[in-house]
């Protein structure tokens, strides 16, 4: 008798191998441990940006908004009153601007604007204070700055002479001469005209036309010859000069 079938079935022991789940890429990516690590990294990286930029935006979404309804005819009196108030205020503000000629100087950009009847009639480059703080012997200090504010033309001069102050000598490394010394008076360096603003400050011309548009002065305002000609002839004593 052939009992080979029994032999086979009796001798073979079936071993069931352990089930090995082959993890897919996504499976690995979304395993709890990896996910947790990613979350922690994100938390560390984005906490500060979130606090700085997202929180204010989120918070504003919770700000209550004022509801305004349009109700025709109900506010006629109030509207008329407001319109009349606005017209009065507009007139008051308009009166503050000089109707005649005035000059505006921008010291940051070294530009000037000449106005007449509230309209610009000329604009161009000028030079203003260099913002140099010169320190001399014995802690003497001069700051070359164009004074900001509203000024008035206090005088008009033709062929101005420069009366050189002490700093002009100190800055050049020269000995300071006594007051009234002829070396203190220099002609033909301030152009053909000058407008006096007071406290030693003037609007004048210059020999160094190539520096117009740069902050190179000791506080005065320098203009090119053609611009100075127009400004000097247009402006009178008492005309306003606004420097900012």
């Amino acid at each position: 008798m052939d009992n080979s079938a029994d032999k086979i079935s009796g001798s073979v022991e079936w071993e069931i191998p352990p089930i090995q789940k082959k993890k897919t890429f996504l499976g690995r990516l979304f395993s709890f441990k990896v996910l947790w690590t990613i979350l922690i990294i994100l938390l560390y990286v984005f906490t500060i940006p979130f606090l700085l930029f997202a929180v204010p935006v989120i918070s504003e979404r919770f700000a209550p908004e004022t509801q305004i309804s349009h109700k025709d005819g109900q506010n006629d009196k109030q509207i008329a009153k407001l319109k009349s108030d606005i017209s009065v205020l507009n007139k008051k503000i308009a009166k503050l601007t000089p109707g005649n000629v005035y000059l505006v100087i921008n010291t940051t950009e070294n530009k000037f604007y000449l106005y007449e009847n509230k309209k610009i009639i000329r604009e161009g480059l000028c030079s203003t204070g260099s913002l140099i703080s010169l320190i001399g012997e014995g802690d003497k200090k001069w700051i070359f700055k164009t004074p900001r504010g509203d000024h008035k033309v206090r005088g008009k001069i033709t062929n101005p002479v420069w009366h050189k102050p002490d700093w002009a000598f100190i800055e050049e490394g020269l000995p300071v001469p006594p007051a009234g010394d002829p070396s203190r008076f220099e002609r033909n360096v301030l152009g053909d005209y000058a407008l006096v603003l007071g406290d030693g400050y003037m609007i004048h011309g210059t020999l160094y036309q190539r520096f117009i548009g740069m902050p190179v002065t000791h506080g005065c305002v320098r203009m090119g010859d053609a611009d100075l000609d127009v400004v000097w002839h247009k402006m009178d004593v008492g005309s306003k000069v606004y420097i900012y």
Binding site: L43, E65, K71, L89, P98, S133, K240
Partner: protein, 258 residues
């Protein structure tokens, strides 16, 4: 060693993240409530439904009147002031009521907070100029250069030539001002972004952010409401941003129309 690594994992993987999450939740809720508190403080607890009596046309006129009244008030000051009209997208430098400089801007953002102000309260607050309580920027407000007097003419000539060699600095102009400790106005240059990642700009932004985080941290630890300041950000060309920054007085006045 294994215990040490395990402890580190627990500290950095569980404990610190949990503390951070708790901090974020507390900070955010305190910040949200601070916005509401600020709205109520500004509106002086006026109920929003009161505004139903005001039509949008009336509110526009109230805004216009407040703006003009504030400009008129500002004209009493001796220093250069600034007016910002978001409605017409116009920014001006003014002195004694005279407009010295005007610029139109096309890009700006502002906090939703401003929509929450009751018209009556708006008229009250905005018809007076705000005072600048703090101003700071990426550039120096007054760029003073110190020069030691030369000993002789040779040294003087050397100083002149070294000054001539100074090249124009690349700078990115961005500045902000706090108005009456209530409103924050940011001015940022548009166009050319050269110098945006240079140290002065990075430092300016870092300083601001560190200050915000420090204050927020202090307040959160004490369970106090955070400081909330509604903001306006205006984008203008570089030279304009520079001119406005340098012209505005340190404690100058600013008029706003939202």
């Amino acid at each position: 060693m294994k215990i040490f690594i395990k402890t580190l994992k627990v500290v950095f993987g569980i404990i610190i993240p949990l503390i951070i999450v708790a901090y974020i939740v507390t900070y955010t809720s305190l910040f949200i409530s601070s916005v509401e508190t600020q709205v109520n403080r500004v509106n002086q607890n006026k109920h929003n439904s009161d505004s139903m009596r005001v039509s949008s046309e009336t509110f526009d006129l109230i805004r216009q009147k407040a703006f003009l009244a504030a400009r008129l008030n500002m004209s009493d000051a001796d220093s250069v002031g600034m007016s910002i009209n978001l409605g017409d997208s116009v920014m001006q430098l003014e002195m004694k009521g005279v407009v010295l400089h005007e610029i139109k801007f096309s890009q700006f953002t502002y906090s939703k907070f401003f929509h929450s102000i009751h018209p009556d309260i708006y008229a009250k607050i905005f018809s007076h100029p705000f005072k600048v309580s703090k101003i700071d920027g990426t550039i120096v407000k007054e760029p003073l250069k110190v020069k030691i007097a030369p000993k002789d003419t040779i040294e003087a000539a050397a100083q002149v030539s070294s000054a001539a060699n100074d090249s124009a600095k690349v700078e990115f102009v961005e500045w902000h001002m706090m108005l009456d400790d209530l409103i924050l106005v940011n001015i940022v240059q548009t166009g050319n972004e050269e110098g945006k990642n240079d140290w002065p700009t990075v430092k300016y932004r870092l300083d601001r952010q560190i200050e915000t985080l420090k204050t927020g941290f202090k307040n959160t630890l004490r369970f106090q409401k955070s400081d909330y300041y509604p903001e306006i950000t205006i984008y203008i060309p570089k030279e304009e941003a520079k001119s406005f920054y340098r012209a505005l007085a340190l404690k100058g006045m600013v008029v706003l129309k939202i």
